[in-house]
């Protein structure tokens, strides 16, 4: 085309001076350049896409958790689109005439009948349905574990608070999306779930019965809830989820991925591999691995066998009725909340036994999660950008808070299985419930305390390792007959992992009055902040400094560690198990006393 001579005439004359189209450079680029050049001529995308393809991402297994979430979401979107071709979102009643014999002739909703058809009469329908359900379950697992990774490594710190907020909303909406989808087949189990959901709505003060009648278009169950949930499940929430997800991933690219500390990794760089070719293959391949694993599970493990439950009917119920796993904590909360939280006053009924668990729990939980980065920023007063992750042990209080949250969640989760535990373990359900009620309040502080102690211990162990090196297992006998184990100093690269971090100091309380003795208007806030800061950082273990290492070497040069020596005529005694024990004032004591 570039060889065509321009016959300058009419409007084209204006273009006569346009540059000739460029032929792509380099013979090897020709094939790509043909199409890509055509697109770039019209979009100028080469620069941006080229930049993206060169973009560097750090490598770590825990960074794949978010990828698992992303891929399971894509798999849900894909298989969900398939399912819409056969699913009929209608509560209209029909007699079943499909090939599943036990239900032939039974009256049921079109939604349930079409789900049976997908499972029994549409070739490959069951595998798609099962992939959809398993992928949804994995989606929420992956989101939550990804969120834990981000929390425990402090990846939510500036500049990523916004992305943490978006992520928390994604996680919460994923629960709603899952519940909506799970309710669509209109089987006995999901219908019982909707029945309970109607009870939840009624517990809202003042508006409860109105909310119920508006959502269900009249009395429960009505015929509106299935098509309404369908619109929410396939249109409204996916649009919001995909939109928020896009913002989430764009922010990751703009802010560049965080990285774990290590030699050569600083707050000012990203060390890793470029998208092209390494992550194109690794992350692209990982999509297929996630999809493949979900397909394999779906081939071998039945999920939600709706044909075994029968169509929804408000009268029958099955023992052991439970929602999908991600709603377990809310269901467990409902089982633990005592009945006395319901009372009547001024002629009205206050159903806090239901409302706390069913209406308040999820927004409050996600509200606290959303606010955490801002709390920590306020406590530390740290306004710097953080691109290097924390090792969880290096921030014991944060890690402890996270574990306390997980402990509370776990108690509620266990509570959702109180009936199953009672049956399988032969225990009284009353005892289990009372125990879990207490555990909800007791377990989180215990988890906090244990976690914090473990973190501090691990930091001391890091100090120990840096100061005294690795135990080689080689026992040396000296000329005098003493034994000691040889320790090998860490190489500088390994050591750097253990000494690179900074420890926050608790904020000092300022006088509260200025030089003229005028009380500071923020004195009360400052006092609170100093208190919280003290709670966060009073226990800490400083990383080893070069001076301490030198001193430790000096010390050990004169006192090689004797691990045991023979008492005359006695059993071998441990004299000094490791430096730091016993009466020798020793390097590790330094860290210990601070802790």
């Amino acid at each position: 085309m570039s060889t065509t001579a321009h016959t300058a005439s009419g409007a084209d004359r204006l273009r006569a001076n346009d540059p000739e189209p460029q032929t792509p450079a380099g013979g090897g680029m020709k094939a790509v350049g043909g199409v890509a050049g055509w697109v770039d001529d019209r979009t100028g995308a080469a620069k941006g896409v080229g930049y993206l393809m060169k973009k560097v991402f750090p490598d770590h297994w825990s960074f794949m958790l978010g990828e698992v979430a992303m891929y399971s979401m894509i798999i849900c979107l894909l298989t969900g689109a398939f399912l819409t071709f056969w699913f009929v979102p209608s509560a209209g009643h029909v007699a079943y005439e499909g090939s599943y014999l036990p239900l032939r002739g039974v009256m049921m909703s079109e939604a349930y009948a079409s789900t049976l058809d997908i499972s029994f009469d549409i070739r490959g329908g069951l595998i798609i349905r099962q992939i959809h359900h398993w992928a949804a379950l994995l989606f929420i697992v992956a989101i939550n574990v990804h969120m834990m990774r981000v929390f425990f490594t402090g990846a939510f710190r500036k500049p990523r608070e916004l992305n943490w907020v978006i992520g928390a909303q994604l996680s919460m909406l994923a629960l709603v999306e899952g519940f909506a989808g799970y309710s669509l087949p209109d089987d006995l189990l999901s219908g019982t779930g909707l029945r309970a959901a109607e009870g939840f709505m009624r517990s809202i003060p003042v508006l409860g019965s109105y909310v119920s009648y508006f959502v269900f278009d009249g009395a429960f169950p009505g015929e509106a809830i299935i098509p309404r949930l369908y619109a929410v499940h396939v249109l409204l929430l996916p649009a919001i989820l995909v939109g928020l997800f896009t913002a989430h991933i764009v922010l990751v690219a703009v802010q560049k991925h965080t990285q774990y500390p290590g030699p050569g990794r600083t707050n000012d760089n990203v060390v890793g591999f470029p998208v092209m070719p390494v992550y194109a293959a690794k992350a692209g391949g990982f999509f297929f691995i996630v999809f493949g694993v979900i397909a394999l599970i779906s081939a071998l493990v039945t999920i939600n066998p709706i044909w075994a439950y029968g169509p929804y009917d408000p009268s029958p119920v099955t023992a052991g009725s439970q929602p999908d796993w991600y709603m377990g904590f809310a269901d467990g909360a409902l089982r633990l909340l005592p009945g006395w939280l319901e009372f009547e006053a001024f002629g009205f009924t206050f159903s806090f036994n239901v409302m706390i668990g069913a209406i308040l729990l999820i927004p409050v939980m996600y509200g606290l999660i959303t606010l955490y980065p801002f709390l920590e920023e306020w406590v530390t007063g740290d306004k710097r950008e953080h691109h290097l992750l924390d090792r969880p042990r290096n921030n014991p209080t944060r890690t402890g808070i996270g574990m306390a949250g997980i402990a509370a969640y776990a108690v509620l989760m266990f509570a959702a299985g109180n009936d199953l535990m009672a049956i399988k373990l032969g225990l009284s359900i009353n005892d289990i419930t009372h125990f879990l009620r207490a555990a909800f309040f007791i377990a989180p502080p215990i988890a906090f305390w244990i976690t914090k102690r473990i973190c501090l211990s691990l930091q001391r162990r890091d100090r120990d390792l840096v100061l005294h090196g690795r135990e080689t297992g080689r026992i040396i006998r000296t000329a005098e007959g003493r034994f000691y184990e040889k320790h090998e100093p860490l190489d500088p690269y390994t050591r750097w992992h253990l000494v690179q971090h900074e420890q926050h100091q608790p904020l000092q309380l300022e006088a509260g009055v200025d030089e003229n003795g005028v009380a500071s208007p923020t004195a009360r806030k400052d006092r609170l902040r100093a208190k919280v800061s003290h709670f966060y950082f009073k226990d800490r273990v400083e990383p080893v400094t070069p001076a301490e290492l030198e001193a430790a070497h000096h010390h050990e040069a004169h006192h090689p560690e004797a691990i045991e020596h023979q008492e005359p005529g006695g059993a071998p005694l441990v004299e000094m198990a490791r430096s730091g024990a016993g009466d020798n004032p020793d390097a590790t004591e330094h860290g210990r006393q601070r802790g």
């Binding site: 409860g208 000012d268 690794k282 990982f286 009268s315 009945g339 319901e342 239901v354 090196g469 400094t545």
Partner: protein, 363 residues
Amino acid sequence: MNNNDTEHGAQAADPGSEGYGSTAVRLDQGHIEGTGRLPERFEDPGFAPHIARAADLDEAAAKRAEKQVAAMFGVSMLGTLVFIVAYFAIPMESQVFIPGIGKANLSNVVLGVSLALGLLGIGVGAVHWAKTLMPDEEVVEERHPLRSPDEARGGFVKTMLTGGTDAQLDRRPLIKYSLGGALGLFAIPLVVQVVGSLGPLPKDELSKTMWKKGDRLVRDPEHTPIKATDVSIGSVFHVLPESIKESEHVLEDKAKAAVLLMRLEPDAIQVAKARDWGYDGIVAYSKICTHVGCPVGLYEQQTHHLLCPCHQSTFDVTQDCKVIFGPAKRPLPQLKITVDTEGYLVADAPFQEAVGPSFWERG
């Protein structure tokens, strides 16, 4: 004690010689300071030396990796082929026994496994390729502060402010406030439309069921009436009102009207009202849990406890279905029953209170 082994003591200075280390200080007494020769903190040693992989050094290993990757891609193609054949060849109803899993639908198993192979072959192959043959020397990209330069920030503020000024926003408060009012209100019609049309008002529907005086108790789901003599001691019946047959909204009516009928020894019923509202030890209670509305489906014959399978609220039939455990607060409402002239059980009155979960205005 002179065994000053190199690995241990290599960096420790010889005592007596000049330099750092010659003044040993107990570490619990503070840092060693003042020599100026040691940094306050360790310094980043920079990247660790790169370790070459087998395939980087040995062409045979690289060739092997190439074959492995190609083999995985081959597995993928095979999986896809199997899927296509199985899709057409396997009848949907054939079953297969898989040890450790049990009986399964053959079509689902083969389609799923072959699909998984088709996907995993590509995934594992690509990752293996990346790990063995693609460059594994790390690349460094610099970060730049996210914050825009000051000029850009200032420029932005200026653009916005001059924009406002150019629009005369600050000079014409009438426009500013009326626009605020209009923008604040325009969404209301949309909200009114959707909220107003979602559903009818509940009125007193939540407080009423279809039970009325004289309505026969019929079995659920057979819809056959129950004679008092049919109800032996210890038995339990799932019951609906006979009028359900004429109902135009069966599920909605059932969701409120479902009842459980039990017969106890009359002496076992400890509450006089409960005995009076029953008939010769036969008592009828709403089956809809007062917690969140699940059917209270489990009856323990020995203890006369009713248990809700959703959240384990437990009601004691001998105590007028008082809650003895679990999250529910209120007892299950009792339906007053009697027998008609033919000896069939009938309702003697509608429910005297709202059945099912609590709501604000139920009291």
